[in-house]
């Protein structure tokens, strides 16, 4: 985990441990904040409702078309298949949008 580029956005302090990311990750493009805990993200050609893992600190997704990384969690009772775990903080038109 220590060299995982996903951790670069976790802050400037020296980390002694990381929030463990397990499972399949996918990239997406932020479209809209929906509620306190949810946002709309474009994954490939699909618009998906995603869960905001850290809803307090989402300054970057005030801007549309910011790149995000999602973790796919497929369980029966969940209302959404994705957690938004990382905001890559750059705007991209290439990543997922078609």
């Amino acid at each position: 985990m220590r060299n995982n580029p996903l951790n670069r956005s976790l802050g400037s302090c020296k980390m002694v441990s990381f929030v463990k990311i397990e499972g399949k990750t996918v990239k997406g493009v932020f479209k809209q904040r929906l509620t306190r805990f949810s946002a709309l993200v474009k994954v490939g050609i699909k618009l998906c409702r995603v869960f905001l893992l850290n809803p307090r600190s989402v300054r970057e997704i005030l801007t549309q078309r910011v790149g995000v990384v999602l973790i796919e969690i497929l369980t029966e009772k969940r209302k959404t298949a994705y957690d938004l775990i990382v905001i890559t903080a750059f705007t991209s038109s290439r990543m997922c949008e078609k």
Partner: protein, 387 residues
């Protein structure tokens, strides 16, 4: 031996939760799990700041200046999970003037902080919900074992302060069984316990949960049995177990306290400093701009605006003893009045159970088996009295 702190009378000391990070390394059922189910819920009545920095964004010098204005300032290191920021913890403990340091942690990373710092904590509040099966059910497989290993490690490294088990309680919890387990077991017995009901904090959970049946058939009877056990223990062992909700209520009833403001201290003696430096009445009220009381760069810690609970608490028969349970729940009203009345019933039941045992406690004090000082504790240290 835990030293009782008579000096911490109302109004003389201010406690500050320092929110070091907005990130956590666990996905607990009553936090992550509940938030997942609350996808459609919002706070339409409040203006919320969702752009807080992930980490503390102000410098230690400004925190030092802020705390330095209150000679009795007590810092409670908090998060999400504060031990994700070990460097900041060390900087704060080295650089900020505070009379005491306390930490509230999930315990997974306790082993990553050097003993010279760990051993300076007056109290470590560790989130653990009971035995291994229950803790791992709520907090994730392996959480219990890791926490217990770390607690053994810090005790071995010389930690002599108070280690408080901080339980979150909901329908899978048998309160009578689990509190007794935490106080006396073969793995690691805690010197003190407090708990908080997962009730009234989320918008959509009541309808899908079994809170009514559980609270009436399991939790409330369990509390009555637990209070009786607590007094039986006093009789048998001439010692008072540090079960915070019971200590707080007995202390108030014995001292003839006419009324109690919120017993956690939120909004009047205990505040939280967000990662951006803004001060809020309680860590749960992060981002609610309507309740910002200032910024630590220019606020006077001794002159912060005070908030108190309002109706329905203020017109309740037991308000003078209960104090209002939770400012966040009272303000945000996530549960309906009818649903929340079940939570109030748990407070009423708790107080009644303690009142019922008071004659036995008085007799034990009169007979010299225990002393009133045995019920003293550092108030407003983050422990819940009304769960």
């Amino acid at each position: 031996m835990i030293k009782c702190e008579n000096c911490f009378e109302r109004g003389k000391v201010t406690f500050f939760h320092i929110i070091l990070t907005t990130e956590c390394n666990l996905k607990c059922r009553y936090c992550y799990g509940e938030a997942l189910e609350d996808l459609n819920a919002d706070f339409p009545s409040f203006e919320i700041d969702y752009t807080l920095p992930k980490r503390m964004s102000y410098d230690i010098d400004s925190l030092d200046r802020f705390c330095g204005q209150d000679p009795d300032c007590i810092i409670i290191l908090y998060g999400s999970e504060p031990l994700l920021c070990v460097d900041e913890i060390k900087q704060i403990m080295d650089g900020a003037k505070a009379k005491r340091f306390i930490i509230q942690t999930n315990g997974l990373l306790l082993g990553s902080l050097e003993p010279e710092y760990v051993n300076r904590f007056h109290t470590i509040l560790v989130s653990i919900d009971g035995d291994e099966a229950l803790t791992d059910f709520y907090r994730g497989k392996g959480a219990f074992r890791k926490v217990i290993d770390n607690l053994k490690l810090i005790k071995g490294n010389g930690f002599e302060g108070e280690l408080t088990a901080r339980m979150t309680v909901m329908e899978q919890t048998d309160i009578y069984k689990q509190v007794r387990w935490l106080l006396n077991n073969d793995e690691f017995s805690f010197s003190s316990v407090h708990w908080q009901l997962n009730a009234g904090f989320w918008k959509k959970d009541f309808a899908r949960r079994d809170f009514k049946r559980w609270s009436e058939e399991n939790y409330n009877p369990g509390i009555r049995k637990l209070v009786k056990f607590w007094v039986d223990y006093m009789e048998k062992n001439e010692a008072v177990l540090r079960v915070y909700p019971f200590l707080g209520i007995v202390q108030s009833l014995k001292s003839g306290e006419k009324t109690s403001p919120l017993r956690c201290g939120a909004g009047w003696i205990n505040y939280a400093i967000q990662t951006d430096g803004h001060i809020v009445p309680c860590p749960s009220m992060w981002g609610i701009k309507d309740y910002y009381v200032g910024h630590m760069s220019n606020a006077d810690p001794l002159k912060l605006k005070k908030f108190f609970v309002s109706e329905p608490c203020t017109r309740c028969d037991i308000f003078n003893v209960c104090g209002g349970r939770c400012l966040y729940a009272n303000i945000t009203k996530r549960w309906s009045i009818e649903a929340y009345s079940l939570v109030c019933n748990t407070a009423q039941n708790l107080i009644n159970a303690v009142v019922k045992q008071l004659p036995r406690i008085r007799k034990l004090i009169k007979d010299g088996k225990i002393r009133i000082e045995n019920f003293e504790f550092m108030k407003y240290n983050g422990c819940e009295i009304i769960p």
